[in-house]
Symmetry: C2
């Protein structure tokens, strides 16, 4: 019998997430039924949206049930198949969650080609975070050459992709990230025009310096005071793709201080969830996959080793301790 390690949601956080909100269990894997496949997960993706799922309140998706395996994207390899559609050795992307093995009749699974693209990239720049960046930038911000685009959480999976895609389109790109090391990476590795370290700079002053002609587009991953500061420097007709509000995930009150700027500067703010725009995924993934395979799009990963490390890695992600796409290596 094979043992499957799983991490369940043990309790809902009140405020910050703690390790006690999770519970590691071991279960025996049952034999496969006809039509099922078994996947050994190689990587688990940790993403900020999971924080919202841990709450019981109103959100855009149903809450994660207690005492069930935490939701999450995974990539892995088929180790046993009783399905005609999959054979042993196939690589798949799935939503098996925080566990070592996934068992499924395979709806919702996606076969992935790891010849030119590393398997882990399918959880990042060639996966949900990459498509999130692609959609928000191209469909909401719709930048024009010469415009100035700002993105927060700029060294993360989404932010890094937003900035590189905007640079390709002839924009001036300003990142916001936490710490000198991340900012150095954003400027020198990813090629942004500037990166503001929100931990050391006065954001309002730094934005004025980094975006001397004003801000035309903002890809918002954090909300809160960063959003307030960007609004003050927004040009008329600036577009804001509202993708995340990590600053408020623990229930801190985040207010928009100057909503009248929406009128004064004729801003457009639009919230979105990429899973509701499945029609653009094929085009986006083709574009992103080609660019990763040819080395045009850079990305960085933070790896936690082993399933048991997932809770601490997730808590670190919410505090910005990750550097690039946060993954848990499971094998």
């Amino acid at each position: 019998m094979t043992i499957n390690k799983q991490i369940l949601l043990a309790s809902r956080p009140t405020g910050a997430v703690t390790p006690e909100n999770f519970r590691l269990v071991e279960t025996e894997l049952p034999p496969l039924a006809e039509g099922e496949i078994r996947v050994r997960n190689h990587y688990l993706s940790l993403d900020p949206y999971m924080r919202g799922r841990m709450n019981d309140g109103k959100s855009y998706t149903a809450p994660q049930p207690l005492n069930e395996v935490m939701i999450g994207g995974t990539v892995g390899e088929v180790v046993e198949s009783r399905s005609e559609k999959y054979k042993q050795g196939d690589h798949v992307a799935a939503m098996f969650g925080w566990q070592e093995y996934g068992t499924s009749t395979a709806p919702g699974l996606q076969k992935i080609d790891t010849t030119h693209i590393p398997i882990s990239a399918y959880l990042g720049v060639v996966g949900m975070p990459g498509v999130t960046a692609w959609y928000g930038l191209n469909k909401i911000i719709a930048p024009k050459p010469g415009e100035t685009i700002v993105v927060s959480a700029a060294s993360g999976a989404v932010g890094a992709t937003v900035g590189q895609l905007a640079k390709q389109q002839g924009c001036r790109v300003v990142g916001i990230a936490g710490g000198a090391e991340k900012c150095s990476f954003v400027e020198h590795e990813l090629g942004f025009d500037a990166c503001i370290d929100y931990k050391s700079a006065d954001l309002a002053t730094a934005l004025r310096d980094a975006a001397p002609t004003g801000i035309d587009g903002y890809f918002d991953n954090v909300g809160g005071e960063t959003l307030n500061a960007v609004m003050l420097h927004a040009n008329p007709f600036a577009r804001f793709a509202i993708c995340g509000a990590i600053a408020g995930y623990n229930g801190e009150p985040l207010v928009m201080k100057n909503p009248t700027l929406i009128l004064i500067s004729r801003l457009k703010l639009e919230g979105f969830i990429v899973s509701e725009h499945m029609d653009i995924w094929p085009e986006a993934l083709r574009d992103l996959g080609t660019q990763v395979a040819t080395g045009k799009l850079k990305y960085r990963e933070s790896l936690a080793q082993g399933l048991a490390a997932a809770p601490e890695a997730f808590i670190g992600l919410l505090k910005g301790r990750n550097f690039g796409k946060q993954l848990v290596k499971l094998i």
Copy 2:
């Protein structure tokens, strides 16, 4: 010699507008130069945007200069012409401001046909306020039949038009207005499905009752707590046309209490100024003019008598004392 009465901006308000911010002067009209026309203004339009112009701070337009005639839309009749394009008796819409006579070489003037449309309507439903309603509703909210649309300042020139147009498109329409008399007009004369009296109702509860399936579109003329309450009841993918923020025109701080709802409910908020969308004016005015001429679109006017009454009427408008489109009758 003919005497022209004019009202100038004498000083900028600190907080609420007072009569002392204005000064009435009388000047002699000079003889017309070649190419000029002289218009006797019949009506002056008073609009909330004028409050923003009275400030010196950053806004979307240049401030109204001190000691000059207050800006404003007018309709009137050509009383003397040295232009080939206009003859005595022509009716024109113009931006002659707060004065009895306008003199111009006629750029920016618009000849208007008063055969089937009352001349004053060109300052309201067949003018800037009507086109504002038309643009925000059709181009930003873009309602679908069966959706619920909410509009604030519902008995005003813009709000009344928004609601009637939305009703024509098969929507459930909920107005918000101040006082039982206005609400009765909105429900029984304009035909909205419901109207909430924000002065007597608890807005959150009233919105839940009046929009039992949630709010899909909001045409915002006021900002502030009304906007906050509507956001709480917005359905996923609701569209907010941000047209005015009269609640904050005197500098009261207005915060958006739950900006995270933009993400959670995938809202789109878009500020606009109708004068920046001149391309849609002909289509909108054709539509609105036909509907007024055939009695399909209803509107109400508040008339102040004589130019000297303009300051008090404007102060009343900012306090919601007007009932329908606020005009000053000049003749």
